[in-house]
Each structure stands twice: as structure tokens, then as C-alpha cells.
Symmetry: C2
Subunit: 691 residues, 2 copies
């Protein structure tokens, strides 16, 4: 691959720094490096790769077989208990899972449905008895299953689901029922074809009391005939915008009876006589605890989105260092795309954001492992984990879509060919922005946390879009720490003397500016909302709604700050001076483009002078030019090989074609058979006429 | 459909205004209303609709048959000469063509390849003899054909193509040759399967002189066997990110001989003895003239992108007025999505932009018809048309992608289902951003025009990314008028007394602010580039490149101004007072969101005070709330019926399901069988404990 580097990319930049690609690559692999490398080996296997152009039926069949390969290769059981053949390794499990996105996002998400959702629910919500009974079959794929939570009528608002599980003491059974069409379970993976069983979420009713959402193990299909069991029904969601290897569908239940013991009873149980008990007294907190396993999905999607962004940028930047277009600077040699300022503007800030998101993800993953391994598993830790996952998953999944699209356009028509991966990955990742928590809803969850950290007033917040979804979180717990920890350090001298944007190169200044913005936005919106939580419901909701946009932008600002902090923290671990220098510049690019993106805010709030603001964009352009020689190194450090990229334009074919063309013209010129250009003749005639 | 309106949407808004949907619908149909309505009837035919989930091979077969239906239905010949069965109606032809996007973008673009490119090239570049010989077969689809211009190696840089057509006086033939792989024609529609012939663009060489790019009629395949003729070859581009009904492919020619008379010789001819002649002396201008027919493609894509945006917004806004989520304001009734501020922020500014783009497109279409009908066909008119088409096509195709994506996300998981259209349309329209002129290149063409209007210095600009592509335009013509006509009216009092954003409601103020920005940006970049055009090529290119980003942003600002002006001009034609009021507010929303988008510029250039800037966002939120009751009327005015929308979520099914659920709960509550909520019991117990 090395000999494909253009001279410009080979150069070490005007500052003499150069990147130690191998060392940077190791740093990017993070704490679970070995597992990541194993998973990449797996993802490189041709039999796991997406085949384009299959019908959705063929794609589903292939994906199901591929899940079998994952089992054979022992690639998906790391999170399960050691006594059942797993390794109780939660962080490692997610690390490996994330890497599967390069093989086929359908394989990844179908594996996520089977083991990350269905299996995890049995593991986390069930007793040891439940685990022993069902996990072996789930792990081996003998029992393909569903995670039947979402209903048509309520999407992200899980607390409002309408499916009921009513206890009948006469038969010691629960009766599972979907009373109307809006209560049908929808978008359920494995529901249309493969699922033999499901964990069904339903309102648990016993002795006339609704104890809220609980999870039940329900058999769906006869394992032999694959027909639905009596009372169970469903329809196929058919073709989707992507992820067509997964058989999503709807499920409905007409008074389906299951044994009492099929209630996954870790956080709530019903005795034979119908009496309810729970180790968690508060229904809100109980709901939150049961939904806590969902965070794993968000953590995984964050990592998968980062991986897809890396693949896209490697392909597009490789191509941009080879592809030439328009002869700007010479009569015979055209300019390499990445030497155009606009092309740098399109790709390099996205590269910087990808690095920031990658380092932020690694922090999130460690936090996740701390909680799920039990190493640090306080309520506070869980709250922090929820907030971080919501913040990072939203930003990174949107970033992946944006990056895939920009890369696709930056490669022109070639970018549109499915063989170059962008369009296919983009179609599959599209839904990452709205599943496992709609990004817009998740950012409101983050905003809620920021408000609660800011003022006790909002701690018991219980309405609006912030309501149902987070009711458990709001009801019982005191939150603090992650939210505004950094902001207190804000130093109020950001309007200081230097007038050029160069002053923004200073790390502390960047931090101050980003943190000050978060702090100010939180304070402003909290002030605007003051008292709203105690008003009559309708009035309070109205006031909240009038500030909904601000709330979401505040959450985004907070998430950006956390990404910047993660990038900056990661710099400390980079020992090679050249790599450190280049990566610091990349971090500066990230910080500066954030400030540029929100420049209106900085200006209208008096945080930056007009004079300095005007120098920002040209300064960023200079930073881009300085980073350009390192661009290829920075994407090579992602460590994806041809078996992961699988893009024709990343193979060096463009350079080969150009060499062939160049050689042709060289020979032609030498032969003196080359036709003369009419324009040249006209110029000569003109010159002759002037004499 | 009317009874699906929510009470909120039925209301006439707090200002008492209401929209005359029918009259507004007629205004939107524009000058070729009858043809549009005919074309919509055609596009509503089930046999022309996209069937999802076909393999690309099946989709190609279906699309080819669908082209036959278009011929039968007399839907695609309007531009051709009356003597051959057409109607010499260029504006009408494009109007009808645009509407086909709602049936299947593949059908639209395949029709565009056959008649808009291949047929148009024969018509515009050939003699009457050529027309009589080939057009009947092209019109009837007896000769499916290709427009073989783009080469792998040169994409948008058409002047640099490497295919040669060398005249051999011994046999009175041209020899068509692709000397190396980079010269292969690429992304050519109809090339992989259906094309029997092609208009091939090649460097015309005779008597040792290269006279530049000319077009040649070349037979590709045996009409009976469908095998390539000797010397012709190609490969299938296979699956793409979308538009898979079109058989794109590569073509190559190994010294293929064609009769001398197959040169489409309207703008350049070779006599039997090999002598070259042309009615256009300048090679640059000749090139530009021959490429002039390409503008039709850009005009059409602009219109198609607007149509797709309309369809998307109708579906998403219909759903947003029915779908309820989270009970913010009441215990039993959830809030309709479109009542959420953020949802308004996501959809309504895009609705305003769609109106602006629609009115701008109508202006472009009339300009196009003026030029192609010969009514106003000066060089200046052609230049204006080129500039407008480049400006509007770039903005509207990007806008369509952005709108389709936002609508898809705003509908959550339902938006991801292919049956709801967004993902399918988005995949197909993706390439609109880079074909028929890459948007980034087109905006540079606009920037070039702005510079030339600003100063003579840039009139002969001939390098950089602005070079090859526009060389003909730069070389011979004096440009003026469209570029900066409005800017001279700038009144320098924009920093006037009023301090609230409400002052921006004033039409003249909006115009001043938008126009001032364009003028200032042009002047600044022109100053920065001063002298660069006369510097040594390499140095000049470097300076240009250092300002490439600014150039592109300047062009975008100009295009936005033109859209705003088109919207404002269209208001004059709206006579119904209620409609005028609502549409004026929508135009304000468009203007205000443009100012908000570029607020950093206005602030750092002292065009708006910090104080006023801070009031802008809340003011826009109030405008959104005022427009919200009219949202459904504004999308209904687009006039697309269920046969065009074909989206399950736009059928009222969501409302039906909710009514069913609501009725269930009403009955349950009345029956007193309803389970009591555990939370309610706890609250009661708590209250009891307090007593």
C-alpha cells in the first residue's frame, strides 16, 4: 500500500513532524485491542461479507447463516457467564461486536438482536434458572429470538406501551395480550421469519394493579414447522432502507398464556397467589433499572458508527491522494483532489471529528465495562453511563451518515457505485440515528441531566418529551458529576488580548470557549424554565416546548465538549513527538471547527471580537494545509485492510490508470505524431500576425 | 383526505388567515400547468411505478418496458421537431419530464438518457439530415442509445477527454479510439445492456490538428443479436447506490471506423479531403456551444429535486399532524409531533426552502424555454441560463437529499421502511448532487461569473478548477446582468435603529441583508484574487486555491439570494389575501433562516447588533408557531395524490390506529375493570400516611 502514497502524502509536512502510524494504530485500538484485532480478522472473512444485490429474502438467509459462523468462530459470547461458555467480558464483547460493521451491518445488527438484546435480556433480567434454561440455546442459535419492546403506537416512549401481561392465579399463568393494532410490537428483528421465542415487554397486571413494564419469555413459533403458535401472529416489515439482512416484523398476541415462571423476575416477581414483590420499591426506578440493559445497544452503535466513519474516510482520502482533476498549476499535470482547499475542508474536519468520536467512544466503553462488570456500579455510575451513551451515540451516528455522504460525493460518480461501499454503508447505518433511542430524544435526555445538575428544581422533572422516557431516572436519583464537572473550571478571561484566531490554538482557550458555551446555555435555559416544573402540567409543557430547540442544542454543545475533552485526554497517551504534534493539530482543527460552527453564538454573546472572528476561517484553512501531508497516515492508522475496505477506488487502480495515460502521452509527444491543438495554432497565427 | 386534518391544522392560525389551497396549487404548477397535470396523470399509472426489492436486472428490464409506455402515452416527445411528431416545446417537455420522478427516478433518468441526452444531442448537434435519419428511431425507442461523454479519467472536466476521432481521408471515415483505460467512457446510461448506438464525444483530429471535442454517432451493438459490434467493448457498472433501473456501464473503442457523415456537424465539419470548418471560429466558444445542450439536464434535475422534496414534505407533515408521542400536556392525550417546537424547526424551514426552490425553478424553466425556443437566445441569455441552472441545480439537489433525510428521521422507524418512500427516493436522488455537473464544480462556475461581473480582470480567467470546464465561457463572451444586478440597490442603513429581530420581517431589510452579503463577499474575494489571473500559472493557481472555499460560499450566497428574490417575486402573483399573508410569512421564514444560518457573517461584519442577533432565534420560533396551523395546507397545495405519494403513513392509518386505541381505553375506564397504576397507589398511600 505504501507505494501508492503521493509525494505530497509522503512528505512529513512543513513542520517536519511525521506520524508513527503503527503506534497511533495501537493507541486507537484501545483497551480491548486484542479482541478488536480478532474481530477484525473475523470481519475480514469473505463468508461474512455483504453481497450486494441480493433480494431481501436471500440477504436474510445469508445473514442467518452468518450468525452460525459467528457462533462457530466463538465471536459473540464474550458477555455471557463463564459457567455457560462465555467470558463475563462486557467491554470486550462490545469491542468485538462493533468491528462486525465492516463485514455487513446486517450481520452486526442481527447478532445484536440475538445476543445483545434477546440474550442480554434473559441474562440481565432473568434469574440464574432462566439463564441456565435458555441461554445455551440462545448462544448456540438453537433458539433465534426477538426483543419485543417497541410498539407501533409508542416508539421511543417505552413506558407507555399497551401490551399487557395479566396474571391468572387459577392457572398460574400470565396472559399476554395486544389489545389493539397500535400495541403490536413493531420493527422487531427476527420477528418476520427466524424468531422461535421472544422477550416481550408488557405492563404487568396482577390483583388489579398495573406494576409497570416487565419482561416475559414467550415462545413464538413451533421449532419444527416454524409456524406461529396459537394466539401469536405477525406481519413482515418487508424491505427497509437498509439492513435488509434482518427480518424485521410486527408481532401481536391474542391472550397467549405463558407459565408464571416465564416472567424474567430479577427486578419484580409475582408469587403463585398473585402477590407482587420487587427488590426496587419505586416503580420509576424499577423501570429505569430494567431498561438499563438497553444502554449496551447505544454504546455499540456509537462504536460501530465510528468504525464506519473510519472506513469511509480511509477510502475517500486514499482516492483523494491519487485522483487528479483539472490542470490548475501546470499544462500537463493535473492537481490531486486533496490538494484543493475545498476538498480538504470537506474531508479533514470530518477526520478530526472521527478521531474525537473514537477517543470519546473508548471512554464510554470503559465506563460501560466498569458498570457492567460490577467494578464501579453505583447508581451514579449508571446515570453517567446513560448520559454519556446518549450524548455520544447521537453525535456519532449522525456524524457517520454525514461522513459517508460527504465521502461519497467527494468521490463523484465512483462514490455512487455500490462497489465503493459508501452508499451501501450509508443505507444500512441510516437507522442508527433513530433506533436504540431516537437521537433527538436522546439529546433531550442529556439536556434533562444538565438541568438536573444545574438545579435541584429540575431533578423531579416529569413531563414533556423529557418525561416518560426518563421518568425512572428523574424520580429517585440524585445526579451529579459528569454533567458540568468541567464547566466550573471556566476562566472568565476569554475576551483576552490576542486578536488573531491563532490564540485559539491554545488548548486552555479552546476548552474555556467550549465549556463556557455549555455553562451559559444551561444557565440561560434553566432560567427560562424556572418554575415551569411546578406549574400546571399544560402550562409547564408549553414553556418547555418553547425552549425545546435550545435544550437540544445545549445537549449537543455538551456532547461536543465531552468529545473535545476525550480527544485532549488521549493526546496525553501519545508519546512519539511527531505523532503528538500532528494529533494536537488535528485536535485543534476539531476545536476550531466547533468554534467556527457556533461562531454566531460566540459573537452575539461577546465571547470573541469581530476582528478575531474574521481571522478564524483563514486560520482553519492554514491548519488544513498543514495537516494535508499527514492525511493518509491518519487514516492508515485506523488499521483497516483491503478485506475490510473492499472498495475498488481504494486499491490504487486510479493511480494505475493515470500512470498508463501519462505514459501514453509521453510516448505520443516523443513520437512527434501528436496532433497540434487548434488553439495553439491560433495563438501562433495571432503571434505571427502581431509581428 | 380532508377529514384527516387535525383540529390544529384545520384552524386558520392565530392571525385569522387561511390558505386557498386550490389557487395556491395552480400558482405552483406554473406556466406549463396543463402539461404538468398530464405528466402527473402518467406518473400516477401503476405500471410506471417503482417496484421495490427487484434485483437490478429485473429493475432494468422493467424500466426499459416503462420507456415503451412513455412512448405509447406520448409523454416524452415534446421537445422534438414538429415535423417528426414532436411539438418543439422545450419548457413543456422539461416540465413533463420532471414530474416522472414521482413514478420512479430510474424511469425519469433513463428517459433523460434516451431523449434528453442521446436524442437531444442528435437534434441540437446534428444536421436536419441527421435528425431525419436517426430521430424517428430514437423517439420510438427502436434505437435505444447512449450519451457517451464522461470518461473515467476526467469526470466533470469534459475538455480533457482522451477519446480520439481521427479522420482518415483514404476511406472517408473517422476512427474512434480510446487509447487507455482512463479514456473509457464511464457511468454511461444504456451502455451495459440496451444501447444500440451512442453519441460519442471525442477529440476531432484531422490533418494533424486537434479541433477539440466533437460528437459522433456510433453504432454499438447488432440490433438482432445485441452483441457489441467489432472494436466496441464495455463492462457493466453493475449495482449503484440507487437508480438501479438504469444499465450504466463503460464503453471502449478500439479503432472503430464510422462514416465521415456520422460527425454531428452543426458546429464543426470535416470535408471529404479532411479540411475542417466551423461556423464558430473560437475553439473555446465552440466547445461551450456544443456543451450548451447539457444545461437541459441541469434544469430538469432542479425541477425533479423540487418535486421529490415536495413529496417528502407532504408525507412527513401529514404524519406529523397525526402521530402523537409523549403526554406532555395532559395525562391522557399525547402531543401531535408537529406541535413540538423541534419538529417545526426540522420541517418548516425546509418547507419554506422548497417553496423558494420551486419558484426559482419556474423562473429558470422560463429562461430555458426562452433560449431553446429561440425567443431570447443571445449569448448573454445563454450565459444567464447556464449560471442560473448551475446555481439552482446545486442548491436544490442538496436540499432534496437533506429534506428526504430529515423527513425520514422525523418519521422514526416508519421513515426507514421502504414503503414510506423516503429511503428509496433518497437513494435514487443521491447522484443528482454529482451528475450533470458536480455541485461543487457548478458553484465554482457561478463564482466565476460573479467575479467576471465584478471586474474585467476575471473575464479571461483560464485556470484552476474554474478552468477547463468553463473555458469556452470565459474565453469569448462578455458577461453581465444576472450576477450582481440586485446588489447595486443595496442601501447602507442596515444597522438601523430597531433592535429586535422583528425588524427583519421587513422585505426590504431581508433583501438588503442578503444582497449586501453577496456584494461584500464578491468584493472581498475579488480583492484577494487581484492580479492572480495574470500571475504565472502555478502561483495564480495557488492563490485561487487559497480562496476556493470562499469562492464556493460566495456562489452559494448568490444562489440563496436568487431563490429569495424568486419567492418574493412570486408573492406578487398571489391575489388571495389569506394565502398572501401565509406565504409572505413562509418567505420571511426562508429569509430569516438564511440570515440565521449566516449569522456569524452578519455579526463579524457589523451588519447586525449582538442584541438584535440574540432575538433572531426566538423570533423564528414564533414564526414557526404561527405557520404551524397552515403546514398541511401548504403541502396539500403541492397537489400530489395518493398515486404519487404511495406512502403508508400518509394514508391516515396512524390516526385510525390511535382512534382505536383511544376507544379501547375509554371503554376500559368506563368499565371500571381498568387496573390501578402502582404509582397511583403509592401516591395515595403516601398521602394517607401524611394525614
Amino acid at each position: 500500500m505504501t507505494d501508492l502514497l503521493t509525494p505530497a502524502a509522503k512528505a512529513s509536512g512543513d513542520d517536519g513532524a511525521s506520524v508513527d502510524v503503527a503506534a497511533l494504530g495501537r493507541a486507537l485500538l484501545g483497551r480491548w485491542a486484542d479482541i478488536r484485532l480478532q474481530a477484525r480478522e473475523l470481519a475480514g472473512m469473505p463468508e461474512l461479507h455483504k453481497v450486494e444485490g441480493l433480494t431481501h429474502t436471500e440477504h436474510r438467509e445469508r445473514a442467518f447463516k452468518q450468525l452460525g459462523i459467528l457462533v462457530e468462530q466463538n465471536g459473540v459470547h464474550r458477555a455471557f457467564p463463564s459457567r455457560l461458555g462465555g467470558s463475563d467480558d462486557h467491554g470486550g464483547n462490545v469491542s468485538g461486536f462493533e468491528e462486525l460493521v465492516t463485514a455487513d451491518p446486517s450481520v452486526q445488527i442481527k447478532a445484536g438482536v440475538q445476543w445483545g438484546l434477546f440474550g442480554s435480556a434473559v441474562m440481565h433480567l432473568g434469574s440464574q434458572e432462566h439463564q441456565d434454561k435458555w441461554l445455551p440455546g440462545i448462544m448456540s442459535l438453537e433458539i433465534p429470538g426477538c426483543f419485543a419492546m417497541t410498539e407501533i403506537g409508542h416508539g421511543s416512549d417505552v413506558a407507555s406501551i399497551a401490551t399487557t401481561a395479566t396474571y391468572d392465579p387459577a392457572t398460574e399463568e400470565f396472559v399476554i395480550n395486544t389489545p389493539f393494532r397500535a400495541a403490536w410490537k413493531e420493527f422487531i428483528g427476527n420477528a418476520a421469519v427466524d424468531g422461535l421465542a421472544a422477550v416481550v415487554f408488557a405492563q404487568l397486571v396482577t390483583r388489579g394493579v398495573n406494576h409497570g413494564v416487565h419482561a416475559f419469555y414467550v415462545e413464538l413459533r413451533d421449532p419444527d414447522t416454524k409456524e406461529f403458535l396459537p394466539g401469536v401472529g405477525g406481519i413482515d416489515d418487508n424491505i427497509k432502507g437498509g439492513l435488509n439482512g434482518i427480518d424485521n416484523g410486527r408481532l401481536h398476541f391474542a391472550n397467549v398464556r405463558i407459565p408464571r415462571t416465564n416472567l424474567l423476575n430479577r427486578y419484580g416477581d409475582v408469587a403463585v397467589d398473585g402477590s407482587y414483590s420487587s427488590p426496587i420499591a419505586s416503580p420509576g426506578r424499577r423501570f429505569f433499572t430494567m431498561l438499563g440493559t438497553l444502554v449496551q445497544g447505544r454504546v455499540s452503535l456509537d462504536g460501530a458508527a465510528v468504525a464506519a466513519s473510519k472506513v469511509a474516510l480511509k477510502i475517500a482520502i486514499q482516492y483523494a491522494t491519487e485522483r487528479r482533476q483539472f490542470n490548475a498549476a501546470s499544462d500537463t499535470e493535473e492537481v490531486v483532489l486533496l490538494d484543493y482547499q475545498r476538498h480538504q475542508r470537506r474531508l479533514l474536519p470530518r477526520l478530526a471529528t472521527t478521531y474525537a468520536a473514537a477517543f470519546a467512544h473508548e471512554q464510554l466503553l470503559q465506563k460501560f465495562d466498569d458498570v457492567f462488570s460490577g467494578a464501579h456500579d453505583t447508581d451514579e455510575d449508571r446515570q453517567d453511563l446513560e448520559t454519556l451513551a446518549a450524548a455520544f451515540k447521537s453525535l456519532s451516528t449522525w456524524h457517520a451518515l454525514d461522513t459517508l455522504q460527504e465521502c461519497r460525493e467527494a468521490c463523484g460518480g465512483a462514490g455512487f457505485m455500490v462497489e465503493n461501499r459508501f452508499t451501501s454503508l450509508r443505507a444500512d447505518l441510516d437507522v442508527y440515528a433513530t433506533f436504540e433511542g431516537d437521537n433527538t430524544v436522546l439529546l433531550q435526555l442529556v439536556a434533562k441531566r444538565l438541568l438536573a445538575d444545574y438545579s435541584k428544581e429540575f431533578r423531579n422533572l416529569d413531563f414533556g418529551v423529557l418525561a416518560r422516557f426518563v421518568v425512572g431516572q428523574a424520580a429517585d436519583l440524585t445526579w451529579h458529576r459528569t454533567g458540568l464537572r468541567a464547566v466550573a473550571q471556566f476562566v472568565a478571561d476569554s475576551g483576552s488580548a490576542q486578536k488573531s484566531a491563532k490564540a485559539l490554538k491554545d488548548e486552555d482557550t479552546q476548552h474555556e470557549m467550549l465549556a463556557d458555551r455549555v455553562q451559559t446555555m444551561v444557565a440561560e435555559v434553566a432560567t427560562a424554565l424556572k418554575g415551569a416544573a411546578k406549574m400546571p402540567k399544560e402550562k409547564g409543557a408549553e414553556i418547555f416546548n418553547e425552549h425545546q430547540n435550545e435544550l437540544i442544542e445545549t445537549a449537543r454543545a455538551h456532547a461536543e465538549l465531552l468529545q473535545w475533552e476525550a480527544f485532549t485526554a488521549a493526546l496525553r497517551g501519545i508519546t512519539d513527538p511527531g505523532t503528538h504534534k500532528v494529533l494536537t493539530r488535528l485536535r485543534d482543527l476539531f476545536g476550531l471547527t466547533l468554534i467556527e460552527k457556533h461562531l454566531d453564538w460566540y459573537l452575539m454573546n461577546g465571547r470573541i471580537s469581530m476582528q478575531r472572528a474574521r481571522t478564524l476561517s483563514p486560520y482553519i484553512n492554514r491548519v488544513l494545509a498543514k495537516l494535508r501531508p499527514h492525511a493518509l497516515d491518519l487514516v492508515d492508522a485506523f488499521g483497516y485492510g483491503p478485506e475490510h475496505l473492499r472498495a475498488t477506488i481504494a486499491t490504487g487502480i486510479e493511480r494505475e490508470r493515470q500512470d498508463e495515460a501519462r505514459e501514453y502521452y509521453r510516448t505520443l509527444r516523443a513520437s512527434k505524431d501528436a496532433p497540434v491543438d487548434e488553439k495553439v495554432l491560433l495563438q501562433k497565427a495571432k503571434a505571427h500576425g502581431r509581428k
